[in-house]
Subunit: 415 residues, 2 copies
């Protein structure tokens, strides 16, 4: 089953947005054991979309199109599908009613243009969109399955997972199953991790091992293909054991166990509540923790102490400490963490102070101090991060969550 991806959108050609959709779909096709040899991008032009559809449907067994199915006049994928398939446009009264109800429920009047989303090429099946109003489309052009999905990733990806992949895997004749295991690491670079486990994947095709770097963490994905899930698991198990043996405590979690979820669970297990005190990260640590549903059972809250007065006032950091050691210092960070515990009534707290750049604050840009305080003690780490302001803030947020984890479990860290 050879699948191509076609992204539609002039904004992609103009470089206003990056084609992250193709990467997300490519990742899923690989995990599902489907072949994927080509990705294409064309702009909002009906002739060029039509040509791209004709070419891809002549080459591939399936084509996933993203974008161009919204309500506006520059959404032209539906028209191009009609042209490529040689069919007329039809109108779904049923979907039009669905759209009217969707808007009514939100107490708003539906713009008439939205009815474009009830149009579809004759013979197409509508795919439900749980997160928006544009339905996906599935139709057959020649010998090729064609799926037209929204360009908005939050709407598109669930449709890929819940509709497109199951359909294609079934069509591929149930050629066995693909099972993946994601191992999450923190504390070493991608190249260092690759060195440690490199010999385990070079030249291997089943299972395969892939690396993904994001926000300071390195994820390893083991993927195996076999006749059934048990056989695939049996292929994964020895490789996973060996990777875990070599990487040791660098592996902090697996699967959907993100660092935020792990921190919240570790707190819940101990009956501890958690709080944050943030300067340079400006609320990102609190936002990460509170992004998890149910976090309110554990998270007390946080103080974003951006101005020095908020550090000394709201958090109660001693002005003498600030005067003597500076705002970006281990001493100030420790008092911020203790202050967050006291002021917010939490059992454990993490504090971040630093200089995210480009302007410098006492210390060179990228200097970050993270402190953790628990009922059992406290510890601080000073780091220096390369990169721009955004990168420094994101990497520091990840590091703060990991040091919080090590503080809660009592593993602490050296230096």
């Amino acid at each position: 089953m050879n699948v191509e991806v076609l992204a539609v959108g002039t904004e992609l050609l103009l470089g206003q947005i990056v084609n992250g959709n193709a990467a997300e779909i490519g990742d899923r096709l690989a995990s599902s054991g489907l072949d994927h040899y080509r990705q294409t991008v064309v702009g909002d032009n009906v002739e060029r979309i039509t040509a791209a559809i004709r070419e891809a449907t002549g080459r591939a067994d399936a084509l996933i199109i993203t974008g161009g199915i919204g309500p506006t006049q520059d959404d032209l994928t539906r028209e191009a599908l009609c042209a490529a398939a040689g069919v007329s446009m039809e109108f779904s009264e049923e979907y039009a009613d669905h759209l009217r109800v969707w808007w009514e429920r939100r107490g708003r009047e539906m713009p008439a243009s939205n009815l474009r989303q009830a149009e579809h090429p004759a013979g197409a099946t509508l795919i439900a969109n749980a997160k928006g109003t544009a339905p996906g489309l599935r139709l057959r052009i020649g010998g090729c399955w064609v799926f037209a999905l929204p360009g908005v990733p939050q709407e598109m990806l669930p449709m890929v997972d819940e509709h497109v992949l199951p359909h294609l895997v079934a069509e591929a004749g149930g050629g066995g199953v693909i099972v993946s295991r994601l191992l999450r690491t923190w504390g070493e670079s991608e190249s260092r991790i690759a060195e440690i486990v490199g010999d385990l994947y070079e030249g291997h095709t089943n299972p395969t091992l892939a690396f993904l770097a994001s926000g300071g963490e390195i994820k390893l994905r083991i993927t195996a293909r076999a006749g059934d899930a048990a056989a695939a698991e049996a292929l994964i198990a020895p490789l996973e054991s060996e990777i875990r043996r070599r990487l040791g405590r660098l592996v902090f979690g697996a699967g959907d166990d993100t660092i935020e979820r792990i921190v919240l669970r570790l707190c819940a297990e101990r009956g501890w509540s958690v709080a944050t005190a943030e300067s340079a990260t400006g609320g990102l640590v609190a936002a990460a923790l509170t992004a998890v549903p149910g976090s309110s059972a554990v998270v007390r809250g946080g103080v974003v102490a951006y101005h020095p007065d908020v550090k000394t006032g709201t958090l109660g950091v001693s002005p003498e400490t600030v005067a003597r050691f500076g705002l970006v210092s281990a001493e100030t960070a420790l008092e911020m963490a203790e202050g967050a515990r006291r002021v917010l009534g939490a059992d454990v707290a993490v504090a971040v102070t630093g200089s995210a750049g480009p302007d410098t604050l006492e210390q060179p840009a990228g200097t970050m101090v993270i402190a953790v305080a628990t009922p059992e003690g406290s510890r601080v780490r000073v780091s220096r991060w390369p990169g721009d302001r955004e990168r420094v803030r994101v990497y520091t947020t990840t590091a703060a969550l990991h040091l919080l984890r090590l503080g809660i479990t009592g593993e602490w860290w050296s230096g």
Copy 2:
């Protein structure tokens, strides 16, 4: 001059990296007034690279290829160029000497595989690589100029800027420039905006109008092509005026003026400092404001008041207010905003309380209350947002920043 981009690399198809190169090149082609209608990605397979080169050179006036010209066995772009052009591979003794010197200067022995980089299709011109060892290639296939460049952006982009674009612009005979204007709106849906201005772009090709939705804002991009920048601006001006006239106060900014930057500038102009009090958004509003370099001149800080005790304790919301009206109420939100002003010593504050879902807190999931308090008064808005927890949090963060803007300028809002 119609230019296509072909990115070569299996890691792109697997989704291990995103095709940022195509976006960077697309942006530069638009700025240089060169047409760009298609981008393609293929993996490290000589037949598929060859096929993609043949197709593109049959369609376009120029093709820019990224990737596949390094030293390893899976770098196959050179072989594919020979096949597509019908020429043999030659070896440049001169470049081989250059490579030997490059390695010698670094005190390292050159791996023998590096000599692959001295190979090139017969008739190709080598393009110097100031940042690495793989030279770029320029050759003509049929009526099409072909450029093969490294996949590493830091090596590739200088070669685009210094060699490819000047060559193509000269070939195009000074084919004019492209100028874009981005207008930012908030407060209406994409389909409603499209209705209001739809007749201004239907069938128009210069200038063109495109829509981009992100996080609750709708952006409109006007793009014009002309002989020079002034002529392009003259095409944009009347369309921009008409759009601004019709959309009125829905347009809040242009270009790089994000809502965060506008809020910070409005505060700075008034000499006001700003603070946040967040429950459901958990720090996202503070994180957005502090993401802007230089925000420390205006931002005092924030309180993430997740637990009810933090609302009544740290922020000083009256327990009677909470008992009588509830945590998700206009009254509580207003006291949170006033509390943030007082506790954090800020002139203006925005407060968010609500239920992001999936669990409900007094009110249905998606109910959000935003309050703004300034030295000149205060106001509150209750909204109901569709979607999942992440979407509700992001849209509410955008709304909080916009209501903060309206509060600061005294435009306030009704209801």
